[in-house]
Amino acid sequence: MGVIASPLHVLAVDDSNLDRKLIERLLKTFSYHVTAVDSGSKALEFLGLQDVEKFPEVEVNLIITDYCMPGMTGFELLRKVKESTSLKDIPVVIMSSENVPARINRCLEEGAEEFFLKPVRLADVGKLKPYLSKNNRKTAEEEECVLNDKSIATHDEVDTFAKEERQVLPEGQSC
């Protein structure tokens, strides 16, 4: 008897409720299971709750996040994910309404797989298939090793990091 694979799970992060509704619908046309949250900190909270004792295995196969958000930006979220031993292999895609080459390059260099200009379209979501292929999914063994790692950022670390990030941006640069 074969194993029934669970649908691929995408975590969508956007502070705009309209854009959350849109991205959720776009992702669902590809039959992905979607969790949509309205901030980077909620996303980290969700990702941090990979505690097998508390919850049934909630695997996230891809994170798609808006760049401009109050509090933690999408870039900061990307960085946190890539710095985390347990989360770094999750592909991250950034969305932005602003076409700023420096911003795009920064995100790609930090490890984002794709950068989508908003409004995001069906064709864009179609590009996510390779990142969500079965080969990228961890085996059960690997999952166990990863879940024992507690190197996910705490809220304090995120605050400090956010301040550093703001200092790096030139004065007057807005989203």
């Binding site: 705009s16 854009d19 849109l22 046309t29 309404s97 379209r121 069906l122 807005s174």
Partner: protein, 152 residues
């Protein structure tokens, strides 16, 4: 009650004019493509969110521009949100005014900002009444037993 073919023709003509006059752009068509039997009210739901967001943002903008010392970063942030939601539904004219508005914010031009706010209100009210008319037409077609023509 008008016959279905007549209503459908009206619908096609009206929709076409909205695109030709720049009220709507291709993003609106993209929204319509996402509507199906399992999501039959998707467009209305998304547009309703746009109406809610817009009205809140117009109030926020009026308040922000009335302050003794105007915080242009705050004003810009509201306009940025407005631009985002209008472009997400394809309300092209609204988006265009937002672009001009952001320039005025950057220049800290109060008169320019106030003019842009008036223009923004005007364009928003226009597109809202046009979309409401479009949805009414759709309802008439459906109630007469017809189907909404697909626009290419």
């Amino acid at each position: 009650m008008a016959a279905v073919p007549q209503l459908q023709r009206q619908f096609i003509e009206y929709t076409t004019s909205l695109y030709n006059e720049g009220y709507l752009d291709d993003q609106f068509t993209q929204l319509q493509k996402l509507q199906d039997e399992s999501n039959p009210d998707f467009v209305v739901e998304v547009v309703s969110l746009f109406f809610e967001d817009s009205e809140k943002l117009l109030n926020n903008l009026a308040t922000a521009l009335q302050q003794n010392i105007v915080d242009y970063k705050q004003v810009d942030s509201h306009v940025h949100q407005f631009k985002g939601s209008s472009s997400s539904i394809g309300a092209q004219r609204v988006t265009s005014v937002c672009v001009l508005f952001r320039n005025c914010c950057e220049e800290k031009n109060l008169d320019g900002c106030l003019r842009c706010l008036q223009q923004l209100k005007h364009e928003y009210i226009n597109v809202r009444s046009k979309l409401e008319a479009l949805f009414r037409l759709e309802q008439q077609i459906l109630q007469a037993g017809g189907s909404i023509p697909m626009m290419e």
